[in-house]
Each structure stands twice: as structure tokens, then as C-alpha cells.
């Protein structure tokens, strides 16, 4: 009888503040859960064991993902740090005018293709939408160029008509300057703009990513700002060598600036993505570990309760026989 019961089912109360009540065994229904008329629910150890197995697997997977992200981060981080010198000369020459007043702004949003990387893509999209709002008004329009699946999914929902170009699968091959230049060329050819605002997450450290916006102005706007004085007023003092006209050199300069700034932005965003994924997977493994601890406690309690119950039955049966 006891053997049968051991084979068939195990009953134990769930984690509840009520004390362990005596088990009412029902000979008919070999179910895992049974509800006592008082209201205490019992759960079988099989269910808890299955749960524990799946949580442990999830923990292993997230730990592995964290290590993969860490190694990818190491690789991209050196590249990103080396490319940081690339945009500084342009900002030193042309300054940085995020509040410039232009008719056509294009927001280039850089995001990742894969998920499970924390909140960086949502932050980029929120900032892009903010810039769109900032730069819209009578006679002013803002369009989007989207790099990466995640931003595409978010922006396509409410700003579909404002999207000019969508580029995905950027990181299929390791990032290099040639690839980004080709990309920049595509954008410059197909999109009309007065100012390009590139939104990305700058990699500060493994746990901190700073949303940043870099502004690249078209040569006409550069001329306009230079003439009107203000921040770019010095630009006229610079002699321009070579080329037939100053405008031609400025055009080349703007395109080169865009490709360099894009290169740095894409690398920084890739670093931020890996770093965010590392911390997301790390907190996920930690949560899985906590869950596993709680489930282990439940399991042990269940197991001990059923053993105790059996002992009680055997002993009470034996003492009844002696009687």
C-alpha cells in the first residue's frame, strides 16, 4: 500500500504560510495536484523537478551568451577606441551645431539587429523621436534612415511615412571602413538633406552607454553658417587648396566627414550592444540562480514531507496491529 502510494504520486503542500496538514489521499485520481477542502494545494515533486531542470538549462544558456558577448566586446572595443580619433578633427574644424536651424533634417538611427541587449535600442528610438519632434514645424521636415532591425520594428509602427531608407544585417561581416563608406555613399545619394543627425549609443564602459547625437551639415548649410558668423565664422579664414572651386572641396569634406562619423558611430553602437547584452545576460543568469535556489527548497520540503507522511502511516499502522 505504501509502496503503491510511493510509486503513484507524491503529495505535499505548496510554499504557503499555513502549516503542513495531513494528506488526504484519493485512490481514484492519480493527479499531480489535489485540492484539500480546507484549500491547501499540493504539488508533486515531479513538477518541481521539471521546473528545476528547465531553469538550470536557461541559466547555462544565458551564462554562455554572456561569455560570447564578452569575447565579441573585447574584439570590437579595441577597434572602437582606435577610431575615436577620427571624428575629432572634423569637430575641431567645423564645430558641432546640433541646434542648427535647417529645413530638411535626416535622423540616422543606429541600432542592433539582434535582441536581448537591454534597453539601448529603445533609448535610441526615443531620442530619434525626440529629435524628430524638435525639428518639425512649419516648413521643416525630418526623415529617418534606419540601420538595424530593432529600430525598424519600433519606428515602422508610427512613423512609416517618414522613413527613407532601412539597412539591416550590418554586422554580418566584421565592421570595416570600406563597408561603412559604401553605406554612407548610398545614404548620401538617395536622401536629400540639409543636416544629418546620427543617433547612437556611445560606449562609456561595460555598464554605461551614453546616447549621443552627432550632426553633419551639408556644404550649403556650412557656407550659410560661415557667412552669417557665429560659431562657424572662422571657416572663411581657411584657405582652400586644390580643386576648382571651394564648393567642391567642401562637398568632399562633408561626405568624408559623414563616412568617418558613421564609422565611429557604428563601432561604438556595436560595443554598446555587446556590453548591454553582457549585463542583460548576467542579470538573467543571476535571476535563474535565485529561482533555482527557491525551487530547490520547495523540492526538498516536498520530498521530506512525503517521507514523513509515509513514516507516520507505517508507524501508526504498526502500532494499530500491536494494539
Amino acid at each position: 500500500m505504501a509502496a503503491l502510494r510511493r510509486e503513484g504520486r507524491r503529495f505535499a503542500p505548496l510554499i504557503s504560510p499555513r502549516p503542513i496538514t495531513a494528506v488526504r489521499s484519493s485512490p481514484f485520481a492519480p493527479s499531480h495536484e489535489d485540492e484539500d477542502p480546507i484549500g491547501v494545494r499540493y504539488i508533486s515533486t515531479q513538477v518541481v523537478r521539471n521546473r528545476m531542470k528547465s531553469v538550470k538549462n536557461i541559466q547555462k544558456i544565458t551564462k554562455a551568451m554572456k561569455m560570447v558577448a564578452a569575447s565579441k566586446l573585447r574584439a570590437v572595443q579595441t577597434k572602437a577606441e582606435n577610431s575615436r580619433g577620427l571624428w575629432q578633427p572634423f569637430t575641431a574644424l567645423l564645430g558641432d551645431l546640433p541646434s542648427v536651424d535647417v529645413k530638411k533634417s535626416v535622423v540616422v538611427t543606429i541600432s542592433s539587429d539582434k535582441g536581448l541587449c537591454g534597453g539601448i535600442n529603445s533609448t535610441s528610438v526615443k531620442i530619434s523621436k525626440g529629435i524628430h519632434k524638435l525639428n518639425s514645424g512649419p516648413e521643416k521636415e525630418t526623415k529617418y534612415v534606419i540601420l538595424g532591425e530593432k529600430a525598424k520594428a519600433q519606428l515602422i509602427r508610427d512613423s512609416k511615412k517618414d522613413i527613407e531608407l532601412i539597412i539591416t544585417e550590418l554586422q554580418k561581416n566584421p565592421l570595416n571602413h570600406t563597408q561603412v563608406s559604401v553605406l554612407a555613399d548610398e545614404i548620401l545619394k538617395n536622401v536629400e538633406f540639409d543636416a544629418l543627425r546620427i543617433v547612437f549609443n556611445k560606449f562609456h564602459s561595460v555598464v554605461s552607454f551614453i546616447p549621443t547625437v552627432s550632426t553633419v551639415l551639408s556644404p550649403e548649410i556650412v557656407e550659410r553658417e560661415a557667412e552669417s558668423g557665429g560659431k562657424l565664422g572662422d571657416l572663411d579664414n581657411y584657405e582652400v587648396e586644390g580643386g576648382e572651386t571651394k564648393g567642391e572641396i567642401l562637398q568632399n569634406l562633408a561626405e568624408f566627414q559623414f563616412s568617418c562619423v558613421m564609422f565611429n558611430a557604428v563601432l561604438e553602437n556595436a560595443c554598446s550592444e555587446q556590453g548591454a547584452r553582457m549585463s542583460a545576460m548576467d542579470s538573467s543568469s543571476r535571476n535563474a540562480g535565485d529561482m533555482l535556489d527557491r525551487l530547490t527548497l520547495t523540492y526538498n520540503r516536498t520530498r521530506q514531507a512525503s517521507i514523513t507522511t509515509e513514516l507516520i502511516e507505517i508507524i501508526s499502522g504498526a502500532s494499530a496491529l500491536e494494539g
Binding site: T91, L93, V213, G233, G243, L253, C260, F263
Partner: protein, 200 residues
């Protein structure tokens, strides 16, 4: 003047506690105040994004007398070859020919053609072959050279250069479309510049 303004307004770093990057130079300037204001008016709930100015050390203002050394930043997409190195002279291959840059050179923006860049410091000269790029010479004797690709001359193989030159000459003769002709021409230009760099 932008640079003078940046030098004067040495405000502390923004309240969000941004520490400076280890590879970026320490920032002494907060983001463009107008942008922050406009942002806060339209989107009050979010912090405004940072702009490149806050990650960059401002350049020194133009000194009244010509400094003795030229400060050179030579950057490539993959590395900063020279970062704020003080040198005596650099010779850059601008499209208008080899241009020598000394401290106190007039402010210039020049595009580069494939050629040899030589950096003179004291008695040493380091030569690089650059593919193309830009050079900005600022009034405060700072020179920024941005190249797409550069290699020290002693790392270039003469045989490969000859092979490349003959290959591209052949491509030019067999080219049909304008695009192919242009690509072949660019190849010839670069390889003949490499050739003259190695020999000259």
C-alpha cells in the same frame, strides 16, 4: 571664434556624472546650451543626448606669437598614428602638390592625393604612404591629417607595386564602361604614386 569660446568657457562636466573616456581627451565643455534648452522645452521627460563637443578636449586658442613646434594629429580609421605629437615640419601630398607645413602656417583645408607624407622631427624623418584624405591646418599651429589608409614606406613591397601597376594598366585598356575606366584610372594613379614613393 569657436575655439576661443571653448577655451574660455571651461564649465564642469554635465551633472549626469559623465566620467571622461580613457581614450578621449578630458572634456571641459558641456553640450551646446541652446540644444539642451530646446530639447528640454519639447521633451521634458528625457535627458538630452550628448553631443561630440562634450567628448572632446577644446583646442587651444591662437597664440599671439608663432609657436616653435607644430602639433600634429595623424588619424586613420583604425588607429591614431600620431596624436598631438610635437614636430618641426610635415610635408603632405596635397592635390596641388607636396605642401610643407611649418608652425605658423596659414589656416588651410586641403584634400590629399595618393603620395608620401613625411614627418620631420629634429633629425629623424618618418615617411608614410597615404592613399587619400584631408588635412586641416589651424591657425594655432595644429595640423590634423585624416587619411583613409596609410602605411610606413618600409612596409611596402616593390614587386607587388609593379604587378599592381601592370594589372591596372591592362584593366584600363580593356575597360568598357565609364565606371570601370574610372576605377582602373584610380588604380593606376595610386600604384604609380607608390612607385615614385619607393624610388624617389
Amino acid at each position: 571664434m569657436l575655439r576661443r569660446a571653448m577655451g574660455l568657457l571651461a564649465r564642469p562636466i554635465a551633472a549626469s556624472g559623465a566620467r571622461s573616456f580613457s581614450t578621449d581627451l578630458p572634456a571641459a565643455q558641456t553640450a551646446d546650451a541652446m540644444f539642451v534648452e530646446a530639447w528640454n522645452k519639447v521633451i521634458p521627460n528625457m535627458d538630452p543626448p550628448k553631443t561630440p563637443l562634450s567628448f572632446m578636449q577644446p583646442r587651444p586658442a591662437t597664440p599671439s606669437s608663432i609657436p616653435s613646434k607644430l602639433t600634429v594629429n595623424f588619424v586613420l580609421p583604425y588607429a591614431s598614428e600620431l596624436a598631438t605629437r610635437e614636430v618641426d615640419m610635415v610635408i603632405v601630398p596635397a592635390t596641388t602638390g607636396q605642401m610643407g607645413v611649418l608652425p605658423g602656417h596659414v589656416a588651410t583645408i586641403a584634400e590629399l592625393k595618393p603620395g608620401v607624407l613625411s614627418v620631420h622631427e629634429g633629425n629623424e624623418t618618418t615617411k608614410y604612404f597615404v592613399s587619400s584624405g584631408f588635412v586641416f591646418i589651424h591657425a594655432n599651429s595644429f595640423a590634423d591629417i585624416i587619411a583613409v589608409e596609410a602605411a610606413p614606406l618600409n612596409q611596402i613591397d616593390a614587386n607587388l607595386v609593379q604587378k599592381g601597376l601592370s594589372e591596372f594598366t591592362q584593366k584600363l585598356s580593356s575597360a568598357t564602361t565609364d565606371l570601370e575606366k574610372a576605377e582602373a584610372q584610380i588604380g593606376i594613379d595610386v600604384h604609380s604614386a607608390l612607385n615614385s614613393a619607393l624610388t624617389g
